[in-house]
């Protein structure tokens, strides 16, 4: 199957994906840094001061994109996991394993920046707001995925088992999110809520979107690097890896 002269299925084998990934990594890093600089400039200097929250709200430009990325990465991870489980493709399973640590990192970043925002806002380092609590549960799901994979010695069984965990988790995420929303609105008034964020000025939204793209590019770059390591590790008995090692790459 050729599309625009490229044979897409060629890259579904670890051996041919490895060099491609290596060539793409620097470009994505450059894009990530460039977008991050633009986004931070917009967020820190251009966007207006919020009349209610002062300057402290600017942490939102990291918190919200990180939260979005953490959820997005989980979905992509679950999709790769499902592909690996159903079609038995090794590279899909490797991509799922490569995505997990970055997703967990963004979840941690979202939680940490959420705490930093909460302190000047409400005087507490942690609030049991629906979104922060959902992020915390998402972190548990990521950690469960990574722990299961680490605990099983046989690589094939490990990736298939953790794939099932990812899929079951993905199916449950809407249920968990809904139930946490329910729990939150019943127990507290709407006073403490991140959804009471300042109404968005256009520049604020632009800055957040730019930061989101910056994180996205960073994710792709880092995941490509990580998947290269995973490919080398899991395919270490094949001939092409031996050649790579001999050539010193």
């Amino acid at each position: 199957m050729t599309l625009v002269g490229i044979n897409w299925f060629k890259y579904s084998s670890p051996a041919s994906f490895y060099p491609l990934a290596g060539r793409l990594v620097p470009w994505f890093f450059i894009l990530a840094v460039a977008l991050a600089l633009v986004g931070l400039y917009l967020g820190l200097f251009v966007a207006p001061t919020d009349y209610k929250q002062g300057e402290a709200y600017r942490i939102m430009f990291i918190h919200v994109p990180a939260a979005w990325m953490s959820m997005f990465i989980y979905v992509v991870m679950a999709i790769y996991a499902a592909l690996g489980l159903v079609f038995n493709t090794r590279l899909s399973a490797m991509m799922a394993s490569a995505l997990a640590p970055t997703g967990a990192l963004f979840t941690l970043l979202a939680l940490w920046t959420g705490a930093l925002w909460g302190k000047p806002m409400w005087g507490a380092w942690w609030v049991w707001d629906a979104r922060l609590t959902s992020e915390l549960i998402l972190l548990f799901l990521y950690i469960g995925f990574m722990s299961l994979e680490a605990a099983i010695d046989d690589a094939r069984r490990a990736s298939r088992a953790s794939a099932l965990v990812a899929i079951v988790g993905a199916v449950n995420v809407p249920i968990i999110y809904f139930s946490v929303q329910w729990w939150n609105t019943l127990h507290q008034g709407a006073s403490i809520s991140f959804s009471n964020a300042p109404s968005m000025a256009a520049t604020m939204l632009t800055a957040m979107l730019v930061m989101t793209f910056a994180f996205w590019m960073y994710t792709i770059a880092v995941v490509l690097m990580r998947v290269r390591c995973i490919i080398l590790e899991r395919e270490r008995h094949s001939d092409w890896v031996a050649e790579q090692m001999a050539a010193g790459r």
Binding site: S147, L148, A151, A161, L164, S179, V180
Partner: protein, 222 residues
Amino acid sequence: MWAVLRCLFMRDLLLAVRRMADVLTTLFFFVIVVSLFPLGVGPEAETLRTIAPGVVWVAALLASMLALGHLFDSDFRDGTLEQMLLTPQPLSLLVLGKVMAHWVVTGLPLVLMAPLLGLQFDMAPAALPILVISLLLGTPAISLIGAVGAALTLGVRGGSVLVSLLVLPLYIPVLIFGAGAVEAGISGLGAGAHLSLLGAILVLALCFAPLAAATALRISLE
């Protein structure tokens, strides 16, 4: 087809009867955990009354989760699980039979014990039936969801701790609606909505958990 489910269900009940210790340890764990809270929080009646639904529910979750180790482990170790994978019967049906027996042996005692523990915390008597119903709907869902985790961690090092890591996030909706039902009952808001949602989760679990657990068993026995 249903004859096989009944056969496996009766077999597991028979095995539980001959190995009573497993049944009783889960129940005693439940009682002990619930009794720890007043010791940690202080014996003021008002505080205890407020935290009672949550405490009973969390303890039930933990006790159920601890019992998950018994679900597939012994069958795995003596080779009967392998034979179950080799029968022409659908594996999800066999899993359902095992989980049902497991619930009767570990979950049902918790449901029956809960009112006594509620009284220990001076819960309003009107709330006790709601507590029982919420646990009656919630504990089977917990057993079903937990079966998936138990199947995934068969024979893995540190399996029991790993199961809790995998399965506790998935229990959270059940916990929220279950404890919420009791609190709604106490405050007079009516527990109908919570209990319906619990019922919905149970139905979803009945439909999908046996399939997921069967897939997990095939993965674990490769």
